[in-house]
């Protein structure tokens, strides 16, 4: 039943693998980041074998994440180009959250929120890697004046927190919009789902047939 011919192919296997690699890496990164973020979270360092290992692993996990996300970036780059409809979609996103999607413009494969998330993540990832390199005491910090390192630390912390917030939202929306997780797990969605959430995309790939 999983590979039901009737369902539409939404994400290919490589895309899904890439997404979940990014997801898993991000979780590790976020947890190890939180250890350094505030003493409240320091006990989380036991997940990585103590404070020292957390400090050692966090930057390397960050680099891994940048690589995985890099490949996702090239995969979804064209798909996520914002259109006027997307901005309008976003303008109505408050109503959508209240369950009323009537006045929403028809979204393509990815709606305005998903595209915006993509670009926000790109921004966050770039800021994080740049400030991360600057803060990486073992290999790079000696290249930078202390004022830059301090600024980078603030940027890194703020952006990191921001990204965690974004991902919390992303995860919730995936849960909230039923079967989205299934789409990312199995790559297929029911036609009804497609028509409901991504009418323009649905029409486009079903050639106008029902």
């Amino acid at each position: 039943m999983i590979r039901d011919p009737e369902k539409l192919d939404r994400y290919t296997a490589p895309e899904r693998v890439n997404h979940w690699l990014v997801a898993m890496t991000f979780i590790l990164l976020a947890l190890s980041g939180l250890v350094l973020f505030h003493p409240l979270f320091f006990p989380l360092s036991q997940l990585f074998g103590g404070g020292v290992w957390t400090r050692i692993l966090h930057p390397f996990i960050g680099v891994v994440l940048i690589c995985f996300f890099g490949s996702m970036f090239f995969r979804f780059r064209r798909l996520c180009i914002m259109t006027a409809a997307d901005w309008e979609w976003l303008a109505h996103s408050r109503e959508m959250m209240n369950g009323d999607d009537r006045s929403l413009p028809e979204s393509g494969k990815l709606n305005g929120g998903q595209k915006l998330l993509f670009w926000l993540l790109v921004a966050c990832m770039s800021l994080l890697i740049l400030s991360g390199i600057v803060m990486w005491r073992a290999y790079f910090s000696f290249l930078f004046p202390v004022a830059v390192i301090r600024f980078a630390a603030v940027v890194h912390a703020a952006t990191g927190a921001g990204m965690i917030a974004l991902i919390i939202g992303h995860i919730y929306l995936a849960i909230w919009t039923r079967e989205s997780i299934g789409a990312m797990l199995y790559g297929k969605v029911r036609r009804a789902w497609a028509k409901q959430h991504h009418p323009a995309w649905f029409r486009e790939i079903t050639g106008g047939r029902k």
């Binding site: 973020f37 301090r150 912390a157």
Partner: protein, 295 residues
């Protein structure tokens, strides 16, 4: 029962207070640059007492050696040949941890208990708890801590906490041939500094003064300078050092609030789900396709 050897005021990355009922004397080390002959005896005494040895480097065209603080050299002499109105002056300053009243390193440190500030004013690194992230280097207004390449821990002058604990003076204080470095209660040191300043003013140093920057709530290593109005001529002694806005933001109240916000966001999402219910495919679209599946 936790054992400790000195009364603690603050511990890094610790949001709960340490046992602090006792009131003990606040100590201070006074470095009188006007009596210092730049002989580096303090550098040797420091390395000898703490059993560290720096590498035998090379001569870089100046008398400074080693050129900077390292994980093995916790104090170094910095030489500055300065032309002032009095003619050529050779200003030599013993660089090292200032043991701030409000330590930037401790504020920046994410590892619980890696940096402690004792009630007598000493700011000490607890290398066992140090995770080697180097945040303290960013937090320090005087650029003092150094990471060891060998064990990834951070090192700096401890004001000889192991000697002070048993009632001795630090090693550099004891060895200083000209008595440029003196140690005692902070009040006594400030009084000693006043005496030195009157003598210096008599000798024509109108601007002689104490360097005990309030920007970091005063320090437990204080200088007497010939030219207290221009500390930067002493090889970059900061004019009025503070922890700085960036570190305050970075390590201030924003983080707990941000943590709270993330928690609230997650909770908010959950209650959105509970109140608004899932975003499912509407009935009529389901109906539309139900026929298809049967046929």
């Amino acid at each position: 029962m936790a054992l400790q050897s000195l009364d603690i005021i603050r511990r890094s990355a610790t949001t709960t207070p340490s046992p602090g009922q006792r009131r003990t004397m606040e100590v201070a080390k006074l470095i009188d640059v006007t009596k210092c002959i730049g002989c580096k005896a303090c550098q040797v005494a420091c390395m000898e007492w703490n059993d560290t040895r720096d590498a035998i480097g090379q001569n870089h065209g100046v008398l400074d050696n080693p050129m900077d603080l390292t994980e093995n050299s916790w104090t170094v002499m910095r030489y500055a040949e300065v032309e002032t109105d009095r003619g050529l002056e050779w200003l030599i300053r013993k660089d090292g941890c200032m043991h701030c009243g409000n330590p930037g390193c401790l504020k920046a440190c994410p590892a619980p208990g890696a940096i402690v500030q004792y009630k007598n004013g000493i700011v000490d690194f607890q290398e066992e708890n140090c995770i080697g992230c180097g945040y303290c280097i960013a937090g320090c207004p005087f650029n003092i801590p150094r990471v060891s390449r060998k064990d990834g821990k951070v090192y700096k002058c401890t004001l000889c906490s192991d000697r002070v604990t048993v009632g001795l003076e630090p090693a550099c204080v004891k060895t200083c041939p000209t008595g440029a470095i003196v140690f005692g209660s902070k009040d006594d040191m400030l009084h000693h500094a006043e005496e030195r300043i009157t003598d210096l003013r008599e000798r024509g140093f109108a601007k002689a003064g104490v360097y005990d920057p309030q920007g970091v709530d005063g320090t437990h290593v204080i200088y007497v300078l010939h030219h207290a109005d221009k500390p930067e001529i002493y090889n970059g002694l900061p004019k009025d050092p503070t922890i700085g806005p960036m570190v305050e933001i970075w390590k201030g109240v924003t983080k707990p609030l941000a943590s709270l916000a993330l928690g609230a966001l997650a909770a908010g999402a959950f209650f959105h789900y509970v109140t608004k219910g899932p975003n499912e495919v509407s009935e009529e679209i389901e109906k539309e396709f139900k026929d298809d599946t049967r046929s």
